[in-house]
């Protein structure tokens, strides 16, 4: 009888998983002017809802917890907000600095680090509670913060050009200076094997490569003479290096102040080619499982996206998806790319094989698009 009652109870009680949501094909779009996020369903090409109250989301970015349930959103006003994708609500929020630029989550998902402009430095928080764990000051604005395996983070300093590797695996953090990248690092990126930390420079020509598998190795500089024969144009938007394309044994890099994409051999850092493009590149992102990279451009030439074949280095498609194209995010297997058109108030979904628009999703002045698959990629 007892067993029967239990069985009945189990049958009658609504199962806890009945309205559960799988998050593997979800994503968030930043509505930067209104301080809100749109939760999107990648498979359904649909907006599921809006999450508000995230403060100033200028230049905002986010990263995901390993279970793809939570997003950590890094706002310009120093706000670090933990968003729950299941309840579509804010789970925790701290204003941890006056002015921030981005963040990263540790490889084990236990720590979240924020890169700050004002005051400079890195602050590290417990990913569960957002309780402070460490505060690492720097002599200036921090840029290019990435996660490095072993509960570590790397970052660069805009004013001083210094690069640091911080190890937060023990109660007391260990901070190792890795050397000087050069004048005014504007962003940095970690290669997909977490071997090389590449720092782009604004104050001088070139890129500095730091070997994270050998902390004693001095940084190597490359592309130090590119463009010396021409005059650089004003830079109306800093290029971004996150999602920097690595393809066909090459790095595809934005030429700062020039209408060019530069190709560098990954083995010896020698420049192999340059591709003349529509404007100054902002994002150069590899289409997964393909030879192609997609490029968007700085204002005022930001209504175009170009596709380049990494084998021939030729532009194979020039698309005009909409007004003020700010970001592109690929489905993890590369079938689709989602493109934010800020001044059209929508996100456009393109089939990457036909390179045709297949859907639109409304969003207010959308900027960054972040699919939950990022949860499993080092450096994102």
């Amino acid at each position: 009888m007892k067993a029967l009652t239990l069985c009945l109870a189990l049958i009658l009680a609504p199962p806890a998983f009945a309205d559960a949501t799988a998050t593997g094909d979800l994503g968030l779009v930043i509505e930067r002017a209104t301080g809100s996020l749109v939760l999107i369903d990648r498979s359904d090409h649909a907006a599921l809802g809006r999450i508000e109250g995230l403060g100033d989301l200028s230049h905002a970015s986010l990263t995901y917890s390993p279970d793809e349930r939570f997003a950590y959103v890094f706002g310009r006003d120093g706000g670090l907000t933990k968003v729950d994708l299941l309840t579509r609500s804010i789970a925790a929020r701290v204003v941890q600095a006056g002015n921030s630029i981005g963040g990263a989550i540790s490889d084990d998902g236990r720590l979240v680090a924020v890169s700050n402009y004002e005051p400079g430095g890195i602050r590290v928080f417990d990913a569960d509670t957002l309780a402070p764990v460490a505060d690492i000051p720097t002599q200036g604005k921090t840029v290019g913060l990435v996660d490095v395996p072993g509960r570590r983070f790397a970052w660069a300093v805009w004013e001083t050009g210094e690069v640091f590797l911080g190890d937060f695996s023990a109660p007391t953090p260990k901070i190792t200076p890795l050397g000087i990248a050069g004048a005014n690092p504007f962003d940095a990126v970690l290669t997909d094997d977490a071997h090389t930390y590449l720092v782009g420079l604004f104050g001088e020509k070139g890129v500095a490569a730091f070997d994270l598998w050998d902390e004693t190795a001095p940084p190597r500089h490359f592309l130090t003479d590119y463009g010396k024969t021409g005059t650089d144009m004003p830079v109306y938007k800093m290029p971004h290096l996150q999602s920097w394309a690595f393809t066909e044994g090459q790095y595809a890099l934005p030429a700062v102040g020039r209408h060019e994409v530069l190709w560098v051999d990954r083995q010896n850092q020698a420049q192999t080619a340059s591709t003349p493009v529509h404007g100054q590149p902002v994002f150069i992102i590899a289409q997964p499982a393909s030879p192609f990279v997609w490029v968007n451009f700085a204002t005022p030439l930001n209504d175009v996206v170009q596709v380049i074949d990494s084998r021939s280095h030729a532009v194979v498609a020039t698309l005009t998806p909409g007004k003020a194209i700010l970001h592109m995010e690929f489905a993890p297997r590369g079938a689709e790319v989602w493109i934010s058109a800020r001044d059209d108030d929508k996100v456009l979904v393109y089939d990457t094989h036909r390179r045709e628009k297949i859907a639109e999703v409304p969003a207010a002045a959308p900027s960054g698009i972040f699919f939950t698959a990022r949860a499993h990629q080092p450096g994102l």
Binding site: D56, S58, R76, N99, I101
Partner: protein
């Protein structure tokens, strides 16, 4: 031609004035494009804060020059290729007093 010239002189604005639709585009540009570096709320980022309080010691004509010619050696670019002098002055006035 002689008859047109006085008309043009009469039409010349006393201070930097721009057509209403261009003013709307410039306001959008300040928020979005200046905002790329200075923050959408102009409270600073890679670039310094450019709120009215932060600019209260900067004369508008100096500000207009910085907008047109940039600050060499920094990330502030010259906007002269994209803006007329009147438009730069309009932005300078708008930054110092954004109230319509």
């Amino acid at each position: 031609m002689l008859r047109v010239l006085p008309l043009l002189l009469l039409a010349a604005p006393a201070l930097a004035e721009v057509a209403p639709d261009r003013a709307a585009a410039l306001r959008h540009m300040v928020t979005q494009d200046c905002g790329s570096c200075h923050g959408l709320r102009l409270t600073g980022g890679l670039g310094r804060p450019i709120t009215p309080a932060a600019l209260n010691q900067t004369p508008p004509e100096v500000l207009a020059e910085v907008i047109l010619d940039g600050i060499p050696g920094t990330a502030m670019p010259p906007w002269r290729p994209l803006l007329t002098e009147d438009e730069a002055r309009w932005i300078a006035d708008y930054l110092k007093d954004p109230t319509p």
